[in-house]
């Protein structure tokens, strides 16, 4: 399998991902799953700025990503899949497409109505619902901002 990281992060592609995780995992492809971004060229140009030229960046809508995800798991390109929210990741995982894989929650920031789990992780009831859906779809969910940091277990996120 060549999806090396599944991550939920509101900032999508940014320093922590490219240097922190990218430096550890050496991906050759970033896939950003987001309906709005897939349709917005100027935003794609901005997100591409953070990635070295030789690394591919693919922007896909949730629907397109659902069709392509088995291919990403199967081919040889080391791939990081990013979504902006847990719901999009849950949509991707629905039906077992990501079964047995780890889902990393790396950055959901403060917003009114969200409860703090850790300094980089704030969730509301809809987020917790999506986490349950991810667990049901056979993935292992935990919080972690950087590769060296300790994991925040799923029980603590669902509390």
């Amino acid at each position: 399998m060549s999806i090396v990281l599944l991550r939920v992060d509101e900032r999508l592609i940014h320093g922590q991902v490219v240097l922190g995780w990218g430096g550890e995992l050496h991906p050759s492809r970033y896939v950003v799953v987001d309906d709005e971004l897939a349709a917005s060229e100027w935003e794609q140009d901005l997100y591409r700025l953070s990635v070295p030229d030789e690394v591919a960046v693919v922007f896909a809508s949730v629907a397109d990503a659902r069709e392509a995800v088995a291919g990403w798991r199967g081919d040889a390109v080391r791939t990081v899949v990013l979504t902006r929210d847990i719901q999009a990741m849950a949509a991707l995982a629905a039906g077992g497409a990501l079964e047995g894989m780890e889902v990393n929650l790396g950055g959901l920031h403060h917003r009114p109505g969200r409860d703090e789990v850790s300094p980089y992780l704030f969730v509301d009831e809809a987020d917790r619902e999506a986490v349950r859906a991810l667990v049901e779809a056979g993935t292992v969910v935990s919080g972690r901002d950087l590769p060296g940091a300790p994991r925040v277990p799923v029980d603590q996120i669902l509390q």
Binding site: E10, R11, L12, I13, H14, G15, V18, L19, G20, G23, E36, S40, W42, E43, D45, L46, Y47, R48, L49, S50, H109, H110, P119
Partner: protein, 252 residues
């Protein structure tokens, strides 16, 4: 977005002046957000926003934002343009969240990891080459501020001219490649500095062999261990300072 709407110079100057305080109310919740809103306030007032509209506008610019403090000026310029063009709050929100990451990463690379240690190395070299301490400090400040102020003022203009299309313009500047070249110069300067420290009589009054061996060992361990760290040059800089401090204490 073909015609750039003129921004009154007085408004531009006030935004740029306020931008120096962009981290003045830095906090974990919105980071530079309040600083961004504070900097853009003269423009929002210039646009005639009042009461509820003004509050909404300040609110959307005060949301979470974090980038390099100098390169935030690029975002400020582009956001000023978006406000002038009457862009929707949603476009503004999405622009803010797309631009902060790249500007943060570029600034870390160009300023903190390359230009700051490079200017520091120039200052130290001048000092140990016999230039007076005051002149070495002045050289550091002038050199460092030259790029700092260029990034702020030209960055603001670039952002204002481009609006949401700032991505390709930033790419054209090839800042990352320039930082790589700067890093080569930095290594050269650090080499010269090490040579000066280890051999020059004026610098430390001559050093024993054991000190030289210790410095070489520190350099090698930095070389081996440093690459695994997030920012190797940061380690190099810290190592250099520690080394110089030790030597300085010994000389004193």
């Amino acid at each position: 977005m073909s015609v750039v709407p003129p921004l009154p110079p007085a408004v531009r100057r006030r935004i740029q002046l306020r931008a120096f305080l962009i981290q003045g109310s830095w906090n974990y919740r919105v980071m530079q957000g309040t600083g961004m809103a504070f900097a853009l306030l003269p423009l929002l007032r210039h646009l005639g926003l009042r009461d509820g509209d003004l509050e909404d506008a300040v609110g959307r610019h005060a949301e979470h934002f974090n980038a390099h403090p100098y390169l935030s000026s690029v975002a400020l310029g582009a956001l000023a343009r978006l406000e002038m063009d009457g862009a929707s709050p949603d476009t503004i929100r999405r622009f803010r969240s797309a631009i902060r990451g790249p500007l943060g990463a570029l600034g870390d690379r160009v300023v903190w990891a390359t230009w700051l240690p490079l200017c520091a190395a120039v200052g130290l070299l001048l000092y140990w080459a016999g230039v007076g301490g005051g002149w070495a400090v002045a050289a550091f400040l002038v050199l460092f501020s030259a790029l700092h102020l260029t990034l702020r003022f030209r960055g603001f203009r670039l952002g204002y001219e481009s609006g949401t299309a700032v991505g390709p313009r930033l790419k054209e500047l090839a800042l990352t490649r320039r930082a790589e070249r700067g890093a080569v110069v930095l290594v050269f300067l650090v080499g010269g500095l090490a040579g000066l420290l280890l051999t020059g009589d004026t610098a430390m009054g001559g050093l024993s062999r054991s000190w030289s061996a210790g410095a070489v060992a520190a350099f090698l361990s930095g070389l081996v261990g440093g690459v695994r760290l997030w920012r190797p040059t940061a380690l190099l800089t810290v190592g250099l300072v520690v080394l110089v401090t030790f030597f300085g204490l010994r000389a004193g």
